[in-house]
């Protein structure tokens, strides 16, 4: 029987929502294609991760827990996973489209000489073929591809599937045939970002600022508005113009040559709405635009617009949101 395999992103031994969503997507796909869902996790000190995966809806969890894998290594993780895949006869292999998924899955796909659709937003099983749909041109279009041979791989865009749930999957401890002396590129250090804010692409709310804020220090308005949603809810984004001007780091850039985001609520402050920016946020569920210029293109893409001065609107909106939340 062929399986749908989910590869977990277990950075620092933690299973986060995008991996649970991948298990949810795998279960949905297995409902059409048949086969069972097997989660594979590589890392170190994986007790909590194994528990989370056992309760994620997978039928089986295969864990490679060794000190060798305490830190991420693209070549090492790929090799350890390929060793496990041999016994699992995978028909499809899924992983979240996280930094780890983007790095690791193409490596696995190349070794299997298999097709991979990255950043998929929908999965297909038609006839006897797997496939997926993904945004291209930063979301200006959507491309559907079908596999021409097996297995089929996909990395899945976070926030697109319901997290899987279940209980008590069988957990199998496995080991790798090699040690740390075989690894080449190895993570030596992970420097956590100073803020406790959620990563941009995982945030429920994104508050983004643009050139309309006039000066880098005025981004405080955007930061305060994001903070008003409470801890761990909102992330701060930026337009390309302000990133290129050096006001904000590139990791905050939304749009083509930045990140594509799809939060529940996107608030654009002082962003006119260049085509590259719109591509990166137009699939957000609700878009709010705050801009002085009533003719700004962003107002054509938003659900709610408010024409006026960000310096007055942002603090008032922050207060109102705090009040609504409490």
């Amino acid at each position: 029987m062929s399986n749908i395999v989910v590869i977990a992103d277990a950075r620092e031994g933690k299973i986060k929502k995008p991996t649970l969503e991948a298990v949810g997507a795998a279960k949905e796909l297995a409902g059409k294609s048949g086969g069972s869902v097997v989660a594979v996790v590589v890392g170190h000190q994986l007790d909590a991760a194994k528990q989370d995966l056992a309760n994620s809806g997978a039928s089986k969890v295969v864990a490679v827990d060794a000190e060798t894998f305490a830190q991420y290594s693209g070549d090492g993780f790929a090799r350890a996973i390929l060793e496990q895949l041999e016994g699992l006869s995978p028909a499809a292999i899924l992983m979240p489209h996280t930094a780890m998924g983007r790095d690791l899955m193409p490596r696995i796909a190349a070794k299997l000489d298999a097709g991979l659709v990255s950043d998929a937003t929908a999965l297909h099983f038609e006839g006897d073929r797997f496939g997926a749909t993904k945004p291209v041109y930063a979301g200006k279009a959507y491309k559907k591809s079908m596999a021409t041979r097996s297995p089929f791989l996909a990395t899945l865009r976070p926030n697109n599937w319901e997290a899987g749930s279940g209980e008590g999957a069988e957990v199998v401890d496995a080991s790798a045939s090699f040690g740390s002396d075989q690894l080449k590129a190895i993570v030596k250090e992970v420097v956590s970002a100073a803020s406790d804010r959620v990563p941009l692409q995982e945030a429920k709310v994104v508050v983004a600022g643009g050139r309309g804020l006039q000066a880098p220090e005025n981004f405080k308005l955007v930061e305060d508005l994001a903070a008003a949603f409470g801890p761990g809810v909102a992330a701060v984004g930026a337009s390309r113009a302000v990133v290129d001007a050096g006001w904000r780091p590139h990791r905050e850039q939304v749009g083509q040559t930045g990140k594509v985001v799809a939060p529940t609520l996107y608030i654009a402050v002082g962003i006119s709405g260049a085509i590259q920016h719109l591509a990166g946020m137009r699939t957000s569920r609700f878009i709010v635009a705050v801009n002085k210029d009533a003719n700004a293109p962003i107002f054509k893409e938003c659900d709610y617009g408010i024409v006026g001065d960000a310096f007055e609107i942002c603090p008032a909106l922050a207060e109102a949101i705090k009040a609504a939340a409490s």
Binding site: M146, A147, I186
Partner: protein, 251 residues
């Protein structure tokens, strides 16, 4: 140090995308094509490395058709030493059916024959947004790889590479030879000056016809997302909050 840089010709980011008559590819009419923006960082980093070390070479390579000579010349004008066009014009649709799997195979086969202490690529091409090529290439060449690199330092034949991950920055130690994919923020790509543009005309640009590699996926459709219909303009912050609460139910 000899560096190979893999580049791609893509539609400029301000292009309006229309679906072509086949329903599977874009309509290229009216679209301006440019060097993939992320590849500019790769080309710049390679040239900078050669300048810093005072030795070595920079070879740019692309898989495309004759049109891609323009982007290769741009790289030569920036300062690359030579260019290779893997010409797919003999393949069906000028290579339009090649997916990331086939592309990486074809390029890897040719990169094997070019001396390389490092291979640089942009983190993704802004047309297909696949972000697969660098890791696939590394796997096929059996090299270590660091992707989405925002800071890069070379000492004693090893790279110290920094990359942004979810909520943190990773520092990776990587031996050479290796594959590095470049992110925005790594450097400030130079513009080609007139002298560079003139010099580029005399630099070698080799064209090699490629044979087909079997793709592992086929495109079956391309669609534009539904248009958004335009927003409701509200008059005050309290109206906005009420709408978010009662209509959108997001508060």
């Amino acid at each position: 140090m000899d560096i190979v840089v893999c580049v791609k010709r893509v539609p400029a980011t301000d292009s309006k995308i229309k679906v072509g008559a086949d329903g599977k590819s874009i309509d290229p009419a009216g679209i301006e094509f440019v060097l993939n923006p992320y590849d500019e960082f790769a080309v710049e980093e390679a040239i900078k490395t050669r300048e810093t070390l005072g030795s070595g070479s920079v070879t740019v390579i692309t898989l495309g058709t004759g049109d891609s000579q323009k982007e290769l010349r741009t790289c030569l004008a920036m300062g690359a030493d030579k260019a290779v066009l893997l010409d797919a014009s003999g393949l069906p649709g000028g290579g339009a059916g090649l997916d990331a799997c086939a592309t990486a195979r074809i390029v890897a086969d040719h990169v094997k024959g070019i001396p390389h202490d490092a291979v640089f690529c942009g983190r993704q091409a802004v047309d297909g947004d696949d972000s697969q090529f660098p890791s696939r290439l590394a796997a096929l060449l059996d090299l270590p790889c660091v992707t989405e690199v925002a800071k890069l330092e070379l000492s004693d034949g090893r790279y110290r590479a920094e990359r942004d991950i979810e909520g943190a920055r990773e520092v990776v130690d990587c031996p050479t030879p290796c594959v590095i994919s470049t992110n925005k923020g790594l450097n400030e790509p130079r513009y080609a000056n007139l002298k560079g543009i003139m010099a580029a005309k005399k630099k070698p640009l080799e064209t090699i016809a490629v044979s087909a590699a079997e793709p592992a996926t086929e495109t079956t459709g391309l669609e534009l997302p539904p248009e958004r219909s335009g927003g409701k303009i509200v008059d005050s912050v309290s109206d906005l909050v009420a709408a978010l609460k009662n209509e959108a139910k997001v508060l």
